[in-house]
């Protein structure tokens, strides 16, 4: 298969890609926490816009990649907003202005505003999450978690290896369903397929653990191929993130 090495490297060498993933993670969390303090409509929209713009420019994430990640966003925001508006207790208030009435269903102005606010919150959370996910290289994150976050190595690198095994799981599923078809059985979600999937996953985990040990994972005096350190860039990123946040909060 032909790999496309250029795309991931473009992100990895970008300004945000080079920053410590823990610094960008801290900013992402700060932004989302600040949103919880306001019910205004403008801050979540601005946060989402800044996150997407930063990923595209400072993170050099290809627009098509980002768009694919954001695809479920619209549906999630719409459904959260819609159902919260529809089921809001504000609809029962006889004094409220009615926007829409359909038989027994009443949609009032305060309920609509509450739904909109919640929907926009979802937009912001998903946009920040997807933008951070796209600028963050899993290996870089793991290295930072181990070296700065003091996470146990065995857990962190094990989790990284497991993350890579997810595509394998999908391939196992395809293969098992194909095997059923070639035995004249329907390629359905037969319990046997799920058991097979579990067996294959456990065996792969066993082999992976063995391979890690065989390559000296448990030996004392482990060194690091990629050293992740706090750099001036990280301070700049954190500071800029906080300034942007202060600006957004001040604007409301």
């Amino acid at each position: 298969m032909i790999a496309v090495p250029g795309r991931a490297d473009r992100v990895a060498t970008s300004l945000l890609g080079r920053a410590n993933p823990l610094a960008t993670l801290a900013i992402a969390i700060a932004w989302l926490l600040a949103l919880a303090t306001t019910t205004d409509l403008r801050p979540p929209l601005l946060v989402a816009a800044v996150a997407i713009a930063a990923a595209l420019t400072l993170g050099r994430v290809p627009p098509a990649d980002l768009a694919r990640g954001l695809a479920p966003l619209w549906l999630a925001a719409l459904s959260v907003g819609f159902f919260n508006a529809l089921l809001s207790p504000a609809n029962a208030d006889p004094a409220a202005t009615v926007v829409l009435a359909l038989g027994p269903l009443r949609l009032t102005e305060p309920a609509l505003a509450a739904g909109l606010a919640l929907g926009l919150r979802v937009v912001a959370i998903v946009a920040v999450g997807v933008a951070w996910g796209r600028i963050t290289d899993p290996t870089h994150l793991t290295d930072a978690l181990v070296q700065q976050g003091r996470l146990p190595e065995r857990f962190a690198y094990g989790a990284l290896a497991a993350l890579q095994a997810i595509p394998w799981l999908a391939e196992d599923l395809v293969a098992l369903r194909e095997a059923r078809r070639m035995r004249g059985l329907r390629a359905s979600w037969h319990p046997r397929v799920l058991v097979g999937l579990l067996v294959l996953a456990i065996r792969r985990g066993d082999r992976l653990a063995l391979a890690m040990d065989a390559r000296g994972f448990s030996a004392p005096g482990r060194t690091r191929y990629r050293e992740v350190r706090w750099a001036a860039l990280d301070a700049v990123v954190v500071l800029a993130g906080l300034v942007v946040l202060a600006g957004i909060v001040a604007l409301r």
Binding site: A161, Q164, M182, G184, L210, D213, R215, A219, R224, Y225
Partner: protein, 460 residues
């Protein structure tokens, strides 16, 4: 595995041979210091490396001096990118970062993967993954190399290049080598010492290669062990193509898993009943994809595939299983029951059930002995023959095999070949995607090569 005693001098090489299921892989794991410390098992007697007992408190440090490559390359790649994966072993051995940065590209280049540093390991082809596993094992300059079927997934030029590289290491005496390998023509010339195991895991013979060949030849042959001077083809050819309309046909087929990344482009192939076709091609050339297209597991992006005049991807499973059979490259991914017998009988008609036992026995998997075993506990060679039995029992008109001979000892190979040939003579069309040139010769019919996404007839 029982009662093995030997001394291996530093810088010398040991080849371990034996029939399928004789414990070669277990021995390799034990020598690599992983039993019982990381892999399950009980070790009796004394196993020492450089005077340090294996399995003791110093095992972690001991393992750091050993480079290991296991059978399945995909499941031993640990990191997301090729360079990190090679570096993983160096980190564990405490290499200083500047030395690692110099060593990683060199190790990749030596394995034939120059420029692969940033490639994602999961996206590599089977052969490329094998090369990466080798690069990772060689990178720390280990004092002991333990290699379990290292050439299994390599195309013939790749296997030859690897054997030459191992010969260089051996000549320089920089590492002691323990090699498990079925490809006798490649492996025997590399060995100072050959250990032959019997089917029950006891030692059959131990000695220099020449000595073994002169003094123990009948015993080795009787045990089903491949020898370096086997004739090729192994058995005289009997099958011949029959004139008549094609049973399976691919016409002008294009296929791409992802838009813009085509695997096949303009594939044309027609297979008459009663023919054996060997499908050859380098690593990543699309052999497995072509195989899955022929049995309707994939649908072509463009062009048509017909089996018996029907589009196999639209045939109901019940009918498809009698129209076409397919043995996947990775047998573990085709096991659907907890026992060998249950798996074999799955979905069979009463008529087919009565002959299931005979098919299994012809492949050396008598149900009396193997029927109640879990298919996952079979050896690699046995697993492959079992998944073949599961397909042969329905007598499909088209039989597509993906790497059927990998890991087979001589006896397993003969049984498999005899059965496949008998089917060809009965009018079955057989297509085998393979790197095994011996099997291509023994299948005797046509050789088709995949190059640039299309087919070329004959050997280069």
């Amino acid at each position: 595995m029982a009662g093995i005693s030997l001394d291996l001098a530093p810088g010398s090489s040991l080849l371990v041979v034996g029939p399928s299921g004789s414990g070669k892989s277990t021995l390799a794991r034990a020598v690599a210091g992983l039993v019982p410390w990381s892999a399950p098992g009980r070790l009796g007697g004394l196993l020492e490396l450089d005077g340090i007992p294996v399995g003791g408190s110093e095992s972690g440090a001991l393992v750091a001096r050993i480079g290991v490559v296991f059978q399945d390359p995909a499941s031993q790649l640990v990191m997301e990118r090729a360079e990190d994966d090679v570096a993983f072993g160096l980190e564990g051995r405490g290499w200083p970062p500047p030395a690692m940065r110099a060593r990683v590209p060199a190790a990749l280049a030596q394995a034939g993967l120059a420029g692969f540093e940033r490639r994602r390991t999961a996206r590599l082809s089977g052969g490329e993954q094998q090369r990466l596993a080798l690069a990772g094992a060689f990178a720390p300059h280990p004092g002991l190399l333990v290699l379990d079927e290292p050439t299994a997934n390599l195309d013939p030029p790749g296997a030859l290049a690897f054997a030459e590289r191992l010969a260089t290491v051996h000549r320089a005496r920089t590492a002691t080598i323990v090699l498990v390998e079925h490809r006798a023509d490649l492996a025997w010339p590399l060995a100072d010492l050959v250990l032959a195991l019997a089917a029950d895991g006891t030692p059959l013979a131990l000695g220099a290669p020449a000595e073994l060949l002169t003094r123990h030849r009948p015993a080795l042959q009787a045990a089903g062990i491949w020898l370096p001077d086997e004739p090729m083809p192994l058995l005289p050819a009997t099958a011949s193509a029959r004139p008549g309309p094609a049973l399976a046909e691919a016409r002008d087929v294009d296929f791409a898993f992802e838009r813009g990344i085509g695997v096949l482009a303009g594939l044309d192939l027609a297979i008459e009943p009663g023919t054996g076709v060997a499908l050859l091609g380098p690593n990543g050339s699309g052999k497995s994809t072509a195989a899955r297209l022929l049995v309707g597991l994939l649908r072509p992006t463009r062009g048509t595939v017909r089996v018996g005049g029907r589009d196999p991807s639209r045939v109901a499973p019940r009918d498809l299983a009698r129209l076409a059979g397919y043995v996947t490259q990775d047998p573990e991914r085709s096991f659907l029951a907890a026992t060998v017998e249950g798996d074999l009988l799955l979905g069979l008609t009463p008529d087919e059930r009565t002959r299931a036992g005979d098919v299994a026995a012809a492949l050396g998997l008598e149900l009396g002995r193997f029927g109640s075993r879990n298919p996952f506990t079979l050896s690699g060679g046995e697993q492959r023959r079992h998944s073949l039995a599961c397909q042969l029992v329905r007598r499909p008109g088209l039989l597509v095999l993906d790497e059927p001979t990998f890991g087979q000892d001589r006896r397993g190979y003969e049984g498999l070949l005899a059965l496949v040939r008998a089917r060809v003579e009965d009018g079955t069309a057989v297509v085998a995607a393979t790197h095994d040139l011996r099997f291509a010769a023994d299948l005797a019919g046509r050789v088709v090569r995949l190059a640039g996404g299309r087919t070329v007839e004959g050997l280069p």
